[in-house]
Structures are given as structure tokens and as C-alpha cells.
Symmetry: C2
Subunit: 343 residues, 2 copies
């Protein structure tokens, strides 16, 4: 009983008995039309299953409903989890999220920003590569497109930053470890990809000072995003050289710790907090896999839900404010210590 093929908004407007400009208004914001006409349109929508041409829409709209999501490294389940939450919120708010991963490559990040620009997004959630990022490119992008940074901050860029408080991570682990056993030494990469790593080291040093303990930073070779392998190689080297100053190792992040634990296992070093163990290992992030390491990893976890939730809310607020905040906002969420078997 379908009258005729509905192809354009013109057709659909005729079929629903509403003028096209009003229908257009409805699709832009269903609440902007009178309740009764909204009902009529939605009835017709069920009868004819028409969808406006997305390209024609975006060509003419002042602002699109697109939202860009950029993460540095999708093979890290940490980001996959955050993306899942963010996508859902965007869709629920009537936006179309587009997901991009820099895959740890500087050039990819630049290209993504470039392509995203032509999508004329209403806003962008950007977790930058960090040290590898082309600062100038990001700065230029942020001045063109309303952008909220998350996970890893770059000084002064974006209208807002939402992330975790690195000091909170480290203070909890250091406090816990030093209270329940030997003082922790800090295990990290020589050239961290991410500014969070630097903040964590600083936090470690300051905490140790506060507790009047001698700090010890172990920096292992390796670059790039293959953290596990770097942690493993570094661990093997340290264990072979007997290079651990204490029997408690605090890793900068969980992926490094996963590699370090693998090294310990290979070398027959028993990790744990119970009697008979040689070493305690703890870490930071609350990585999805941290509960399946051997032994399960004691770690200080991001508040994933809060970070992603707040990042999205901030972006929505930014969009509503016309793309600019008066001054850059910075929100940090505290971590939550998860005590498991490794320390």
C-alpha cells in the first residue's frame, strides 16, 4: 500500500502533510517543532522509512552533527573501552561519531586531523599521541575545530582537557607499597610516548621524598607503542644483571607491567605479596587485561566511566557554547587502587 517511492524530503513532506522547511527543521532538532506536527512527522516516518541525504544535509548546515574521536593506539583495549562509552553517548545525543586511530604514527595523526577538518565536525575528542604529536598541527587544528583533549594533555591546547590525576595514581600505589613492604622502585621506559609517564615519575619522586624514602628510577630502553615487549626485555635485562635495588617494582603503566611479569615468570622469579615470593609488582591504569596476568596485577585504575563521561559532557557544553570556552578547562579524576595478587 506504499503510495510511491519516497526519495527526497520534498516527497516525504508531501506524504506526511507537512511543509518541507518544517520537516527540515524537525530533522535538525525534533524538539523545535510543535508537538502535534512532530507526531505527524514521526507517524509518516514509520510508514515510509525515509532518511534525509546526509551529504546534502551537511553541505548546507551551519554546523554538522559529526563528532570526531581520535585515539593514539587502538590495539590498546584501554582506548577501545573508552571509545565504546563515548560513541554511545554521542549517538544518544543525536551526533554521528567517527572513530580514528593514529596507530602510534605521527603522520597518521596529522592526516587524520587534516581529513577531519573537511568533515566540518561540530566537535572533536582527541587523545593525542603525546611526544610524537606534531604540536603545531594540533594547535592549528584546535583553533579551527572545537576540541576537547583527553587521556593525554598537551600544554594549552584544546578548549579543555579531561583525564586522570597521575599524582593520585602514584600516591596511592607508593603509599600502599611502602606501608606494606619494601620501598618501591619505579620502572619506566627511557623515552615515554606519553606525557602522563613524566607526571607519574615526578609524582613518584615527590611521594618518596614526602615519605622520606630513597627513590630509585629504572629506565629501560625502547621506543614506540609496543610497551609489553619493552617491559619484558627491560625486565629480563634487569633480572639478569640483578639490577633491582629493592624487592618492590612499581611500573609506570600496566602494559609495561604485563611485559615485566612475563620476564619474571621466564626467569622463575616468584611475584606476589605472600610468603615465598621474591618480588612485588604493581602498576597504573587498570588495564582490562590486568586481572588476567600471572599473578593478577595490583594496579591503580583510571575511572574509565567518569573520564569518558565527563569528556563527552564537556564537548557537548563546548559545542553549545559556540565552540569556545572563556578559558581552558582541565579536569582530572582520581584513581582507584585495586589490590590483587602481585603486590
Amino acid at each position: 500500500m506504499r503510495e510511491q517511492k519516497i526519495r527526497t524530503m520534498e516527497d516525504f513532506a508531501a506524504a506526511s502533510g507537512i511543509s518541507r522547511p518544517t520537516v527540515s527543521k524537525y530533522f535538525n532538532d525534533p524538539d523545535s517543532v510543535r508537538q502535534s506536527t512532530r507526531q505527524k512527522i514521526e507517524e509518516a516516518l514509520e510508514r515510509f522509512e525515509y532518511r534525509p541525504n546526509i551529504f546534502a544535509m551537511n553541505q548546507n548546515r551551519r554546523a554538522t552533527k559529526n563528532i570526531g574521536i581520535i585515539v593514539p593506539y587502538l590495539a590498546d583495549p584501554f582506548f577501545a573501552e573508552i571509545v565504546r562509552v563515548i560513541e554511545r553517548r554521542c549517538i544518544d545525543a543525536g551526533f554521528s561519531p567517527s572513530l580514528f586511530s593514529s596507530h602510534g604514527e605521527r603522520e597518521r595523526e596529522i592526516d587524520i586531523l587534516d581529513n577531519l577538518r573537511s568533515l566540518k565536525p561540530a566537535g572533536v575528542l582527541l587523545a593525542p599521541l603525546g611526544r610524537q604529536s606534531d604540536k603545531a598541527a594540533i594547535e592549528a587544528f584546535c583553533s579551527d575545530v572545537p576540541t576537547v583533549l583527553f587521556d593525554s594533555s598537551i600544554e594549552g591546547m584544546g578548549e579543555a582537557f579531561v583525564g586522570s590525576d597521575n599524582y593520585s595514581f602514584v600516591s596511592q600505589t607508593v603509599e600502599y607499597l611502602s606501608r606494606t613492604g619494601d620501598r618501591p622502585c619505579f620502572f619506566e621506559m627511557m623515552h615515554p610516548a606519553n606525557p602522563n609517564a613524566n607526571k607519574r615519575r615526578d609524582a613518584y619522586l615527590s611521594m618518596m621524598q614526602r615519605l622520606q624514602l630513597e627513590p630509585h628510577v629504572l629506565r629501560v630502553a625502547g621506543e614506540g607503542w609496543g610497551f609489553e615487549e619493552i617491559g619484558r626485555q627491560g625486565g629480563l635485562k634487569l633480572l639478569a644483571e640483578d639490577g633491582l635495588p629493592t624487592n618492590t617494582v612499581l611500573c609506570s603503566n600496566d602494559r609495561l607491567a604485563i611485559g615485566f611479569l612475563a620476564a619474571c615468570y621466564e626467569k622463575g622469579v616468584r611475584v606476589g605479596r605472600v610468603e615465598g615470593c621474591d618480588l612485588r609488582v604493581a602498576s597504573h591504569d587498570g588495564h582490562p587485561f590486568s586481572q588476567f596476568t600471572c599473578p593478577s596485577l595490583t594496579t591503580s585504575a583510571h575511572d574509565y566511566a567518569m573520564v569518558s563521561e565527563h569528556a563527552v559532557k564537556t564537548l557537548f557544553r563546548l559545542i553549545e557554547s559556540g565552540g569556545r570556552f572563556g578559558k581552558r578547562e582541565e579536569t582530572l579524576f582520581p584513581a582507584r587502587l585495586i589490590m590483587r595478587d602481585s603486590a
Copy 2:
């Protein structure tokens, strides 16, 4: 010294001294214009950094240059790795890939297909959820949009399927395990999310028969995409009940094995192939994390590179063929056994 603002292709054509239709032709395919004009355009392109409006382009083109990539579960690094390769190939071929993850949810997959339709993609690479997928929705989608399935096949859908040969996985692990030790029992989920799991079980049974060994399938409770936890819980239960008929466990996939290994560690069961070990554990997939388990996991690995490469090539061929093949193609790549410490 920038003469004036270049906003439209009209402006750019004037600035480059080429007519707009020819410029348009160039952007559609740079090789479709004479070498000398191509050069002129590209010179102007550097001077003026103009980019055509993507929405106006796509609105009028017969076929867009968009390619959709859909994966069932992005938190699995397996897919993240495949996506990385596929994206790169698409970009190099002049396409714009859009990435979507169903995040293990049936409704998300349906929505993605729905949204993707209005992007009028030239082609789609789809790794379906599997058992949870809405078969009718996928079938309808495939009949509208040129689609190549990968990773997990659905009988008869899509113009082609590219994946790994499950029999190859299992035959290698079973052969190796039974040759070097006790016969393997097969560890899997009660209700696998993915048809590959069924094929692997069948392959196990047939291999065991061929080798004249008694098969033993252990099916543990659990649904959804949290394989590690399912493997862990199942492992704990089996170990507590002393429910293992042999001292060799072959897991259906690596994520299950990661959980199973965690259970073994918790229970103090020593896994490995060397003397003094209680149990051997092997698995399938070649998961990026499988080398960091404790002990490192012996597994039969996908040929990631070949699968992603061939999937992309097949899609390109499909697009060039006008979106239809005469008959459905199915390409399976063999696995490669990676011997590590767990078995």
C-alpha cells in the same frame, strides 16, 4: 602573496588555469587527465592548498570513495591490528575508510549497517558478530552494498569471504600436541559467539578420529565477549573438580586460553612442556598478547597480513566489477603454529 581566498573549485580552477570540469575530473581520478594539466593542477594545489568539499562531492558522485570497516569487538587487539592494515591499504588506494565497532552488541551492529547505508559506501568490509548477528539485516545490507565478509563467515552472505582455515589451525595443534605428549582435550565456551568456534570443534573431533584418539570436549558456561573471564571461571571450576581427562588442554581461542592460564596460576598448576609441569595448554589465533602470558602461549596463528591484505584486494576487485561477483568467493588462509612454552 596569496592572490585571494580559494573557496570553491571554481576559484581553484581559475587560479590554476584549468577549467572546472577538468579539475573535477582530476579529483575523481588524477590519472584521467593529461600529464601536463595534471602537473598544472598539482602546482596550483601546492600554492593554494584547496580541498574539494567532501559533501558536495559525495552528493553528486555516482559512487563515493568511502569504505566501511565493521568489526565485532574493538577491545580485541586482534581486530585492532587487522584494522590498522586495512585502513592503510584503503587510504593508499584513494579511499576513505570509516571504522565501526559493534562492541559485541547485536543492536549496534544493526545500527551501524543502517548508518553506513546512507554513507553510500563504494564497499564494505564486514566482520560480523556471528551468532548474535541479525542475519536478515546483514543479508539486506549485502544486497544493497558491495560487501566482503571477513574473519567470521555467514553462510552465503556477502560477495566474498576472507578468513582463516579453522581446520588448518586445529590440525596443526592437535597433531603437535598428540605427537609430543598426552592427547589434547578441547576447551571451549558453551555458546560460542562466533561460527569459527564450531568449525574448530568439528576440526578437533575429526582430527582425533583420524589419529584414532579418544576426543574430549570440555564446554564451560558463559556468554558474551568477555572470553578471558569465561576461560578463567571455567578453568577454576574444572581444576577444582579435577575435571580434566588428560594433561593437555587445547583452547578454542587465545583469549579463552589467557583466562585458563590465569586460573592455572591461581591454583598453582604448573603449565608448560618441560619436566615438572602438570599441564600443557595450547590454543588458536596468535593473539598479540599470547607471547606475554605466563607461560608464553603455544598457539596456531592467523596470517594477519594475508587475511587483511586479501580482504582489501578482494573488495577493490569487487568495486571494480561493479559491486557483484558472479559467484561468492571464499578464501581461507592456513595457520602457522607458534611453539612457545605452554605446550
